[in-house]
């Protein structure tokens, strides 16, 4: 099956929209709001709420656009290329590439996270993604030129950049070594498996599970993969 998206059962999208994760964030919001009211008073509560709504109005169109970009990037990114350059076998080269890409990515979290999701879906490994995010957060040229140089001066920016230069590589390397969470997508097969997992719903856990099962060779442990390959392929190719 070559189509990047497996067919989803109709109607399941709504139930997955309001899944456990959704209610977890809903609960977090309620607890944070209650704590804000209790600790800082009603003025702070309404002030924060008002400010949040303003921020949301401003960025909601960008969130939606970012999600659409991410969706299309997921199906367009050439899996074999991604796996080759920043996949599980890319080694230090993958970490260097991810670090360079992170430093060159402009914009805030709205720009970088959807890209990370798309890269992940296309088979980038976790070490490379951690290196990318760390590099974007620490070395991103836009923040350095917009904020750091004007406010702190060239000397500080250079000193801080040098001190931060090796950090994305270190973080990516550590992320790859962490036990219990194998993140290396081994083959195109794994990529296919992953795509059949749930987009955006703690996707790493699914891949990690698949990769772990694959690594120890206990195929029997895995839940039977969805057996609707044929229909998924058909609907993906139509139109």
């Amino acid at each position: 099956m070559k189509e990047p998206r497996a067919k989803k059962k109709s109607g399941s999208i709504l139930s997955r929209m309001f899944d456990q994760t959704f209610w977890l964030f809903f609960g977090m919001m309620l607890v944070a709001g209650a704590a804000c009211w209790y600790l800082r008073g009603s003025d702070a509560f309404f002030g924060a709420f008002h400010e949040d709504l303003n921020v949301l109005l401003g960025i909601l169109p960008r969130i939606v656009l970012a999600m659409i970009m991410s969706g299309f990037a997921q199906v367009l990114l050439p899996r074999e290329q991604v796996a080759y350059w920043v996949g599980g076998h890319s080694g230090w080269r993958g970490l260097f590439i991810a670090t360079a890409a992170g430093a060159l990515t402009p914009g805030g979290p709205m720009a970088s996270f959807p890209f990370v999701v798309a890269l992940y879906m296309a088979g980038a490994d976790r070490g490379a993604l951690v290196a990318y995010l760390t590099s974007w957060a620490l070395l991103g040229f836009q923040r350095v030129t917009m904020w750091e140089i004007p406010l702190m001066g060239m000397d500080f920016a250079i000193l801080r950049s040098i001190a931060n230069l090796p950090l994305p590589l270190i973080a990516g390397y550590i992320a790859r070594q962490l036990p219990g969470l194998p993140a290396r997508v081994e083959t195109l097969d794994d990529v296919e498996l992953k795509v059949e997992g749930e987009v955006g719903e703690a996707p790493i856990a699914k891949v990690a599970q698949d990769a772990a099962i694959r690594a120890v060779g206990k195929e029997g442990l895995r839940d039977a993969p969805p057996d609707d390959d044929a229909s998924g392929e058909g609907s993906g190719r139509r139109g």
Binding site: F22, A32, G33, L60, M69, G71, L129, P203
Partner: protein, 164 residues
């Protein structure tokens, strides 16, 4: 506004490329885009509001002032701890760094603070990373990044001693 137009253009290009693709990927693209939008937008909205409340509970200035005029190894350790709890974006953080710098905080402490806020800052983790990437990835990345702030601080300390 400019960024919306820019993102819209990129989206348009992606849609056209998918549509012209020999394998006619625009249907799959639309499905993935719809799914991404429906699944992630509600979570990010809730997470943003929640993180906004949390940042009210932990006002940025009060946290940053804990660093005060600290420098040396003590400054690095304090900056490491408080950086991750400092909410807000670069618009507020950089002016605060200027104030801290004038108050006498050492360069290693300032670099550690910036690094810690950048890689461990809770607001970005809660509002974007957790809803989109899931808990396993976040825990993994935070563990991998936990030691980076003091490393950057000690590198700065080393550089400072080398060039003075």
């Amino acid at each position: 506004m400019g960024s919306i137009i820019f993102m819209g253009l990129i989206t348009l290009v992606l849609v056209v490329v998918a549509w012209r693709h020999p394998r006619r990927l625009h249907v799959a693209g639309f499905r993935a885009a719809l799914e991404m939008t429906l699944l992630n937008t509600p979570r990010v909205v809730l997470a943003l509001i929640g993180a906004g409340f949390l940042s009210q509970i932990l006002p940025q200035e009060a946290i940053a002032n804990l660093l005060g005029g600290e420098s040396g190894v003590r400054g690095i350790l304090i900056a490491w701890l408080i950086g991750g709890f400092t909410p807000g974006g670069p618009i507020i953080t950089f002016p605060i760094i200027v104030v801290l710098s004038k108050a006498g905080a050492g360069l290693p402490a300032l670099v550690t603070f910036l690094t810690s806020w950048s890689v461990l800052g809770f607001q970005r983790v809660l509002a974007f990373e957790l809803p989109m990437m899931g808990r396993t990835f976040v825990v993994n990345r935070l563990v991998a990044a936990a030691l980076l702030p003091p490393i950057s601080g000690f590198i700065t300390l080393l550089l400072e001693n080398l060039f003075e």
